[in-house]
Symmetry: C2
Subunit: 417 residues, 2 copies
């Protein structure tokens, strides 16, 4: 069945010419199957780092528009090289830079957002049998300036392009063969999910499963783009699997998931630090007094737990920040101590956040209670808890991370048999 | 006195960030002097070769449009880095890619010709105090494709830009401090010329003085752009010379050269090979029979000497081709032997062309006779001669090159005292 596809290949998949040739064979296979194809490529692994190093060496504080001009050339190079490799396999192809399509962005250079991609001209060319090889990570902002989308932006390019050309599917080729119930390095019995909903994937992505950039998942959800995560290291010319099912994970609307599990996966993150303010005056406006200065300093606060004080005068406030911002956050709070009115600031970077994710939780009670009981049975102390409709997160001591993940993975029946 | 300048820096002048910072100081000096500045930059030395190597590795025969997309990114990188370095010195600057200006070219990808550069918008921005940092070597062809101008194309970019923005001067910063009467490695008493006419420079450039690309000199002559060749390795912040004369060579109209010499320089080239066809039937159309097949194979023929045959039936034909094309030329001629009707093909790559160049020759007789006599006195055999209005070229055995150049350099009074 003919389909219109976007195929996206990341930096490790195009690391050198040998890899780029391999990518070309993946593309040829899809073209040979009668599909209309647009490809989105990242820079060759290493190139972006070299370009960033040069920009930093030229000046510590650099104009983000010039930084983008320098860094975007990495994807320009790959797009041209892949077009050459495709042509040498007899596949009609041409490269497209962001400004040529154009992929219009806002002026948030360095982390720009895509505003518009006119798709009709590209659809016509793809339908005419010409593979479009699109430089990922880049677009064009006002005054014809080149803009980049930030780390992992090629995922976003691919999903946005898929929406623009009304693609049947956006295939993300990466160095793993899909999304797993948890990190297979920790739990050997982790299973690949054949399908996962956008909402669950968003939680997985933002909680440390590094398969897809969060923004690309949001975009896929908004535009209903089906995203298929698969490995670029499979033999590109292998015959289709006997059961007709290519190994990988489809990220889609929950309506398309027939066998709904209560819990789909266990995520964890060790990149967070905990800060507790003790004996804070419990009065209106105290939360603003704490989180205002942090926001002003661009520090993202994640889990927030405020205990109700016994006597209504003093309370404890606990929250997490990225480990990279920990020292800065402490300094900001110390400076604002008089305005907030806390007595003691305690903190730790030796903590981890473990999360249970599943859309089935909405309709099943007791999931959280089971979680807390199982962790308690293993002697794991829970420092803080936050929950959402489809997620339970607990903050624990970092040395317990692996034990907690394994315990919960078994508890919810995710272990591979 | 305020001037509008184009400053061009080649690959060795922007080889790394330290060099790029040095270039930024050259630019700052001109801005501080009240000048309006556009800068044209090449790729960092080494970058272009890496990009070419990747393109060749991807496929031996590559689409020149994709090749251009890959290779042009080298100049894009430098333009962004120099803009960053300028800003860090407090100089207002922005980078410009070929497609942003736009520098429109024809569709001769890989060696495209500039068709048009709209200058007014750029003039307004430069006049507003913003230094334009323009990526050299590139432009935009039809269908918004990136095109490159071929080897040394950044010189052409600089001169074309100077014409488009009606610059007072185009300064070419390079690794030598000007144009010399001959190669200083051969003649230690070679002198730097303070001025040279476009016509002479064209001959010098095409005969092996590798300071400037020939096409850029042609363009400068057509548009009357004054080109000043100077060193990028001078101290960029040095005070002006006591005599007010910056070391370098001005390439200009001959009317602007007050002290006209009969001979301005001696050039040589060892990159040519000689081919002689012996006993060719001397009949109409024989030259076409010889040079037609060579032209069809894209082999450039340079010096052509046809002797008049004694009896009007058989003649000898001698000409030169680039050494790189020598074997191919022999094969082409052998294949066409029946059609041409020669009896013996002789050839040699062990030859050199030495040329005496000077606009003063037009009005002075005896220059050629002096040349032949001086070479004869040194026992140097002349294999062939061609002359133009401002040039005498002799073909000699390669081992005599240095002796011939030194002899002629002294003969015409070019030695430094």
């Amino acid at each position: 069945m003919m389909a219109r596809l976007v195929m996206k290949f990341g930096g490790t998949s195009v690391a050198d010419i040998r890899h780029i040739r391999n990518v070309a064979r993946h593309v040829r296979r899809e073209v040979a199957a009668g599909n209309q194809v647009a490809v989105v490529v990242s820079a060759m692994a290493g190139t972006t780092n070299q370009l960033i190093a040069w920009a930093r060496e030229a000046a510590t504080l650099h104009d983000p528009r010039e930084y983008d001009t320098v860094v975007a050339s990495g994807e320009q190079i790959t797009s041209g090289l892949l077009a050459i490799a495709l042509q040498s396999l007899g596949v009609n192809a041409r490269s497209w830079q962001g400004w040529q399509i154009p992929i219009r962005t806002d002026d948030g250079h360095g982390a720009a957002r895509i505003v518009d991609i006119p798709g009709d001209a590209l659809i016509a060319r793809i339908a005419g049998g010409e593979v479009a090889v699109v430089a990922g990570f880049q677009g064009v902002a006002s005054d014809s300036r080149i803009a980049t989308l930030g780390r992992g932006g090629s995922d976003t390019s691919a999903v946005a392009l898929a929406a623009a050309i009304r693609a049947d599917r956006c295939d993300i080729y990466t160095d793993v063969d899909g999304v797993y119930t948890t990190d297979p390095r920790i739990v050997h019995r982790a299973r690949r999910l054949s399908r996962i909903s956008y909402e669950e994937m968003l939680e997985m992505a933002s909680l440390g499963a590094k398969v897809l950039q969060v923004r690309s998942v949001e975009l896929a959800m908004v535009h209903g783009v089906k995203v298929f995560v698969r490995s670029s290291f499979d033999d590109p010319d292998a015959p289709p699997p006997i059961d007709g099912v290519t190994p990988g994970t489809l990220i889609c609307d929950e309506d398309e998931i027939v066998e709904k599990k209560i819990v789909s996966g266990i995520a964890y993150s060790k990149d967070e630090a905990e800060i507790s303010l003790r004996r804070v005056a419990d009065k209106p406006g105290v939360a603003a007094a704490v989180f205002g200065p942090l926001a002003a300093d661009n520090i993202n606060v994640d889990m927030i737990v405020q205990n109700i004080s016994e006597d209504g005068t003093l309370t404890d406030l606990t929250f997490t920040v990225p480990t990279a911002d920990y020292e800065r956050a402490r300094a900001v709070l110390d400076a604002a101590k008089a305005g907030i009115g806390f007595q003691v600031l305690q903190g730790s970077t030796d903590i981890a956040k473990v999360s249970v994710i599943g859309i089935g939780m909405r309709s099943h009670a007791g999931v959280a209670a089971d979680c807390f009981a199982a962790l308690a049975a293993k002697g794991i102390n829970i420092r803080a808890i936050t929950t959402s409709e489809i997620k339970i997160s607990v903050l624990i001591d970092a040395p317990h991370t692996e034990l907690a993940v394994r315990t919960l993975h078994s508890l919810y029946g995710l272990d591979d048999n």
